[in-house]
């Protein structure tokens, strides 16, 4: 079942990512990205990270991507138009990305023997208190980073308000 989940949702994620790349209209790209994120949420859940799965859905799909869609709708962004230089990007982009992929997979595959047979799965309904574990670490050992990020969020909100406000 672990494998089935991985194959289904991994495939869905890849499809979404590729669709993001191929779609001309940003809203379609955004929706494909939502698909990727939802699939990843399922994968997280299958890896025993329930809290992250929920956070992925709520924060990424439910807030960040909604914001993207909202902005696309607000700006009424149309399809991409071709301009000079975009062909150069195609020429450089695909091989570059392919090269990066090759390097990454090379590393992972050569390293896989060092990673050993550490297999995953089989813990779908593991009744661990994953959230309690995360929160106890977050609010004791990592309290300062947590508070700092909350400040960061606050600053980001203020910054966004200032930036997006119409000039009087």
């Amino acid at each position: 079942m672990q494998l089935a989940l991985f194959l289904i949702f991994g495939g869905l994620a890849i499809a979404g990512a590729i669709n993001l790349l191929l779609q001309k209209h940003p809203i379609n790209s955004a929706l494909s990205l939502v698909v990727v994120m939802m699939s990843l949420a399922v994968l997280y859940w299958s890896l025993g990270a329930e809290f992250l799965a929920a956070a992925q859905v709520i924060v990424y799909s439910g807030a960040i991507m909604v914001l993207f869609v909202f902005v696309i709708m607000l700006l009424n962004a149309g399809e991409e138009e071709h301009t000079h230089g975009s062909r150069a990007a195609y020429i450089a982009g695909f091989p570059g990305a392919a090269a990066i992929f090759c390097v990454l997979s090379f590393v992972f595959l050569t390293e896989s023997k060092h990673l050993g047979s550490a297999n995953l799965g089989g813990q779908l309904s593991q009744a661990s208190n994953n959230i309690a574990e995360i929160s106890s670490v977050l609010f004791t050992k990592l309290l300062l980073p947590f508070e700092v990020t909350s400040i960061l969020i606050l600053v980001a909100i203020l910054g966004a308000v200032v930036l997006a406000r119409k000039e009087q």
């Binding site: 809203i27 329930e50 799909s61 439910g62 869609v69």
Partner: protein, 356 residues
């Protein structure tokens, strides 16, 4: 059945459960619509639907047939795939969240060596987060419908809906933190269990002193479901019909059903979180009576009764409250509900910490 292996049994039982719940929910949705029309009619001193069947009880059926048979219009300038997907997303999301709601006390039956919880589709230990997550996904249906219609009223409606739902989601989520703090769990069953000790006296809204959180939840829930008095995305006097202006036939029906299904979900969650869910309001005051079947059915009755009260409250509010202005709505969400919700969290956690 013994020739089935456990996995297939598990799968089949779950599909059965799903089907039952789906049918029940859709029926409930249909009759909630009828209930609204009848009650609203009485509030406005008229009868409401009364011609089809006894007391108009077959009216939902007639509505369904009508919508099925109507011509399915596809506006020329619309973004076709999204136009079709949008209502599906909306309805799916509103129906999915029912899955984590426990309707009754834990009752496990064992078939072929596989135990199944019959009153709950999926007992997830992050049930509350699942509800929140699915609610937040539900925004896409409305946002995309407005955008894909390529109609400015629809777009405005969906923009309003999107920002409204994002804004109130915060207050909604924060209002639930107090409850979670008290229960110490995100599992809906645990939350129910935490308030079933002394009946109504231990409900979160009374004994748990979470009435402030409940108030916030109520306001945010009305906004989340685009219900009066926060029904601005579909304000007919301003935006024709808002995001579903261009929709007709079955697609319109889907939005319609999504709205009422959402209402039911929200009512269920409110019942679970603040009113003890399926537990009896009398706690142990009334001694157990009847056989095990009655003992199993009774909590469901309580649950349905409580949810029904909520639905009536919804309809009552719709019958009495005027609509907000949009800036009032936003200001209310950000400047009133959010701070109150934070103060509530603070006070609750302080009290809990002091009590140890």
């Amino acid at each position: 059945m013994s020739h089935l292996n456990p996995f297939v049994t598990f799968l089949l039982l779950n599909i059965l459960k799903l089907a039952v719940v789906l049918v029940l929910t859709l029926t409930a949705v249909a009759y909630t619509v009828l209930l609204e029309r009848k009650v609203l009619g009485r509030m406005q001193n008229r009868w409401g639907p009364s011609r089809v069947g006894p007391f108009g009880l077959l009216q939902p059926l007639a509505d369904g047939i009508k919508l099925f048979l109507k011509e399915d219009l596809l506006p020329f300038a619309s973004d076709r795939p999204l136009f079709i997907v949008a209502p599906i997303i909306a309805l799916t999301c509103s129906l999915v969240s029912i899955a984590v709601v426990p309707f009754g006390a834990l009752q496990t039956i064992t078939v072929n060596g596989v135990g199944v919880d019959i009153f709950n589709v999926a007992n997830v230990n992050i049930g509350l987060l699942v509800v929140l997550g699915i609610t937040s996904i539900g925004v896409y249906g409305i946002a995309l419908s407005g955008w894909s219609s390529n109609n400015k009223f629809a777009l405005l409606g969906s923009l309003r809906a999107t920002s409204q739902m994002i804004s109130y989601e915060l207050a909604l989520g924060l209002s639930l933190v107090g409850v979670v703090l008290r229960a110490g769990s995100l599992n809906l069953r645990d939350i129910v269990a935490s308030q079933s000790a002394h009946g109504a006296a231990s409900w979160n809204v009374f004994g748990g002193f979470q009435f402030v959180a409940f108030f916030i939840y109520l306001m945010a829930a009305y906004a989340e479901t685009n219900r009066s008095p926060f029904d601005l995305p579909e304000a007919e006097s301003e935006l024709v019909a808002g995001y579903h202006t261009e929709y007709s036939s079955m697609k319109f029906a889907m939005f319609f059903m999504a709205e009422y299904a959402n209402m039911i979900t929200v009512a269920c969650v409110a019942t679970l979180l603040f009113f003890g869910g399926p537990s009896s309001p009398f706690g142990n005051l009334i001694p157990a009576f009847g056989g095990p079947v009655i003992q199993a059915i009774l909590p469901i009755m309580w649950f349905i009764l409580k949810v029904l009260c909520f639905l009536l409250l919804y309809i009552w509010v719709r019958g009495t409250m005027p609509r907000f202005r949009y800036d009032q709505l936003m200001a209310f969400g950000w400047k009133v509900l959010l701070p109150i919700a934070m103060v509530n969290i603070l006070v609750t956690s302080l009290v809990l910490a002091l009590r140890g």
